[in-house]
Amino acid sequence: MDDLAAILTATLVNGCLLALLSVGFVLIFRATGVVSFAQGAWMVFGAVFFYSFAKLGWGLVPSLLASAVLVFAGSALAFRLVFTRLIGAPPFVTAIATIGLATLLQAVAVLVWSDQPIALPGSMLSLNAIHLGGAFDTNQVQLFTVAVAAGVFALVIIGLRRTPIGLRMRMVSDNPRLAAFNGINVSRVSALAWALAGLTAALAGAAFLLGTQSSPSTVYDLGLSAFPAILLGGLDSVVGALVGGLVIALVGAVTTVYVGGQWTEFASYLLLLLVLLLRPSGLFGKAQVSRV
């Protein structure tokens, strides 16, 4: 595969992973106003649960679903236990709380599963090259990742626009008090947003593990690297999460090919600072960035 094909493939696949993480963040931010640093932690749990179920002999889809459901429930539980009690607290308190939660979760994952690279048993999905034509090669894992991300985004976008629960979520994001005045159970809607965020992160974690033998720390770091994507897309935009993910993945791919792999992280975060400097609301963000 030549450079261009490699870049495009990496952009698409990594972009999907980042987009999955980012859309979860956006759901949480829109519904509850919390800037969550915990997506990386949920991603780790998605990966390690997936691994454990796979080791038990469950197939690809059952393992994926089971780990996704567990993290879905875990995130909702975390919201209920911790963040319902922090409603009304200043924003930096909730952000620090997510950092505390993430630190705790990550540590638990490492204690239980150890920080060694995790190898999935057998061959769930093959990494053998599938020739797509021209200079493009891919493999089952990459196709799977893109399919999962596409599915999630389709569900989220359609769900928000067309379903009753999506409508309620949009209203809660706009104005939680008014939503309550109109009979919406704000806390249930918020818990759902958190649960979905955990789910998308878990799917990203499992998909990542399918393609790369990685340790919990590596997975966690990838989770954090979604922030440049989130900020670029706009903290409160679902479409922005997708575009931001793809752009940051593109920057990463280009950097890897032309400069060197160790520079990618640096490049993404430099881009984050640039976004802050030039356009803090991101490409699609609607949230008012108020100057003081």
């Binding site: 409603i87 009304g88 009753p164 409508l167 309620r168 949009r170 209203m171 994001s173 706009d174 104005n175 939680p176 008090r177 008014l178 939503a179 309550a180 005045f181 109109n182 009979g183 919406i184 159970n185 704000v186 609607k286």
Partner: protein, 246 residues
């Protein structure tokens, strides 16, 4: 939305006794308020800024736990207690608040607003004058004018067929002509959907003209409690200026 007159529904009698609303700062916005809103009537609650009118309505329709407000006393709807209920619970019991500011969701379309309350098509909204809104069906509510937003908020409330409709400062920011028209509409709809209405208003005269009973609040307390017919302009003036109305 159904039309046709509705029989008087005793389940809609709202009785309030000794209501106190205290904020987390310690400020007591409503002190020992007793009033009743019989089904089928329009009740006006008047008073200056800061008299506690909005807090009274919020005390009836419910506060969110994060607002950390203490509500004591007794609120009974159709005989069953409602004191301190959460907003979504009060809504289910039929107590609906149309707030003073932020009455609609700016980034949600008109269509979606009505979809929330089960109205699928603009033609289904049989309210006189709603067609102006119907023409903006796909537009985000943030682009509507003040009067249109008020109309949308009212339409949402009526679609739910509330037992007690609480309207906070309907006339605020609206041209007097439009406000009068909307208030008259409120009176008309009462006959159609049943229930009762509490209007909190700064425009005392407009409110009194559509209501059956008048309460005036000052410093969190009721200082005037009489039928509208017995409430003269002079009485209102003296109540607003702080003297004890005669």
């Amino acid at each position: 939305m159904k039309t046709g007159r509705v029989a008087r529904d005793e389940g809609a009698d709202l009785m309030v006794a000794g209501l106190c609303v205290t904020y987390s700062t310690g400020a007591q916005a409503v002190s020992d308020v007793t009033l009743s809103v019989p089904a089928g009537t329009v009740v006006a609650v008047l008073g200056r800024n800061g008299a506690g009118k909005t807090s009274l309505l919020r005390g009836l329709s419910g506060f969110l736990p994060s607002e950390r407000v203490r509500v004591t006393g007794s609120v009974r709807l159709g005989g069953r207690p409602l004191t301190g209920a959460a907003p979504q619970h009060a809504y289910r019991r039929g107590v609906v608040l149309v707030p003073e500011r932020d009455k609609v969701f700016p980034n949600v379309s008109v269509a979606d607003h009505m979809r929330l309350v089960g109205v699928g098509r603009p033609g289904d909204v049989a309210i006189d004058g709603f067609d102006a809104i119907a023409r903006r069906w796909a537009s985000p509510a943030g682009l509507l004018s003040g009067g249109e937003r008020q109309m949308l908020a009212l339409a949402m409330a009526w679609a739910h067929r509330p037992r007690v409709l609480l309207i906070d400062e309907l006339s605020l920011g609206l041209a007097p002509v439009i406000a009068k028209r909307l208030l008259a509409l409120v009176r008309e709809q009462l006959a159609i959907t049943g229930g009762s209405v509490v209007v909190v208003e700064q425009d005392a005269n407009a409110a009194v003209s559509v209501s059956d009973h008048v309460y005036v609040m000052d410093h969190g307390e009721i200082v005037w409690d009489a039928a509208s017919a017995e409430t003269s302009a002079e009485t209102l003036e003296s109540a607003y200026l702080g003297g004890v109305p005669s």
